[in-house]
């Protein structure tokens, strides 16, 4: 709880990845300094977009798989994920 707070964002744009499936797609951003590393997003993302890094914090490893189902950003207890729907 310091006064200054540098927000570290880790965005992964699926555009860079091969597009395998149809349907809506999402751009996932994790705000690392709000994330407490609970692992909920990692455990429940239906398509396995996330993995844990070596500090036990989530990183987006398969951005291309995101279906913009919004499970992760509605369930992150710390408002640390934003999923933006990408117009197909």
């Amino acid at each position: 709880m310091t006064d200054e707070q540098v927000t570290v964002e880790k965005t992964a744009t699926p555009a860079a990845a091969p597009q395998a499936k149809k349907g809506p797609r999402g751009q996932v951003t994790i705000f690392a300094n709000w994330c407490k590393g609970c692992g909920i997003c990692v455990a429940f993302c239906p398509t396995g977009v996330f993995a844990l890094d070596d500090t036990d914090h989530p990183v987006v490893v398969h951005p291309e798989k995101c279906t913009a189902c919004h499970w992760c950003d509605t369930h992150c207890p710390d408002f640390a994920i934003v999923v933006k729907k990408i117009a197909p």
Partner: protein
């Protein structure tokens, strides 16, 4: 905060030094907060017209983060404070946020009387089956056999059925969902807020730090998963035998009726009295 603008919630969070929040990593209270914000956003309420009132507990810490009129009162009394506020300002959407201990242990009386009066307050109870804030003592919703720091040999008191109690006492709207079912939870909260009378939403959550650890239920992820597995929609539950249903968390809108809201009724009384003295 500028970087965060895409998240619906950010517009409603206080632009202050309060994040990350106080809750343990993975605690479901944050999920309820997120659902509440989306519900308010869905309805399109003005922030100035929303008041959040909480008691004391981990759950009670929720309002401080949100950019509404917020009041962190005393343990168990959120609904009593909210009653005064709602009567003074019927145009405000008054929402109380309470833990299971807060709402049902020390606050049980205000809970049943607010329901009885059918006053236009939305009551959200985050039920984690334990006193989280004080470190894991059993609460009126701890399951029989569950261990707690004050139930070292397992709890022997039957849990209070929150929803059934609210309904019996007179609530207009009663629904239950879980933090695993965040979208459903959001919908129920939205419906409860839209309701004129007293609306109760029981948000079943978990406390992995307190209850989870003492009962070897694993991490937040494990407890989140358990909510998925042990809950079921009301329609499905009705097909089960009563004994089978016992161990299930039944989700759904359990009660929804139209009854005159308290402050509206009081306004009628004022109008009538004033008319009659005007007419003397």
């Amino acid at each position: 905060m500028a970087q965060h603008e895409e998240h619906t919630a950010y517009e409603y969070l206080r632009p202050s030094k309060k994040f990350p929040n106080v809750w343990c990593s993975g605690c479901g209270i944050g999920v309820v907060m997120s659902a509440l914000i989306r519900a308010i956003d869905n309805i399109g309420l003005e922030k100035d017209n929303v008041a959040l009132v909480s008691g004391i507990g981990c759950t009670g810490r929720m309002p401080v983060y949100m950019d509404f009129n917020t009041m962190h009162t005393t343990h168990g009394r959120a609904l009593a404070f909210a009653t005064g506020l709602k009567i003074a300002r019927p145009e405000l959407k008054v929402i109380t946020i309470m833990g299971d201990g807060d709402a049902l242990a020390i606050g049980g009386n205000h809970f049943i009387h607010s329901a009885r009066r059918n006053i236009g307050i939305t009551a959200i109870v985050v039920n984690n089956n334990i006193y989280g804030m004080t470190g894991g003592q059993y609460s009126p919703t701890t399951p029989i056999g569950g261990r707690a720091t004050t139930a070292p040999y397992g709890n022997i008191e039957p849990p209070m059925p929150i929803c059934e109690l609210a309904q019996a006492a007179g609530a207009s709207y009663v629904a239950r969902s879980t933090v695993y079912h965040a979208a459903e939870l959001e919908r129920y909260i939205e419906q409860a807020i839209r309701k004129d009378g007293f609306g109760l939403v029981e948000a079943v959550s978990y406390c992995h730090t307190g209850y989870g650890r003492l009962n070897k239920l694993g991490t937040a992820v494990d407890m989140m998963r358990a909510l998925k597995e042990t809950s079921m929609a009301q329609a499905a539950a009705q097909k089960l035998a009563p004994e089978e249903r016992e161990n299930k968390i039944v989700r759904g809108v359990l009660h929804d009726v139209e009854r005159v809201e308290y402050t509206a009724r009081y306004q009628q009384l004022i109008d009538q009295v004033q008319q009659s003295i005007g007419g003397r």
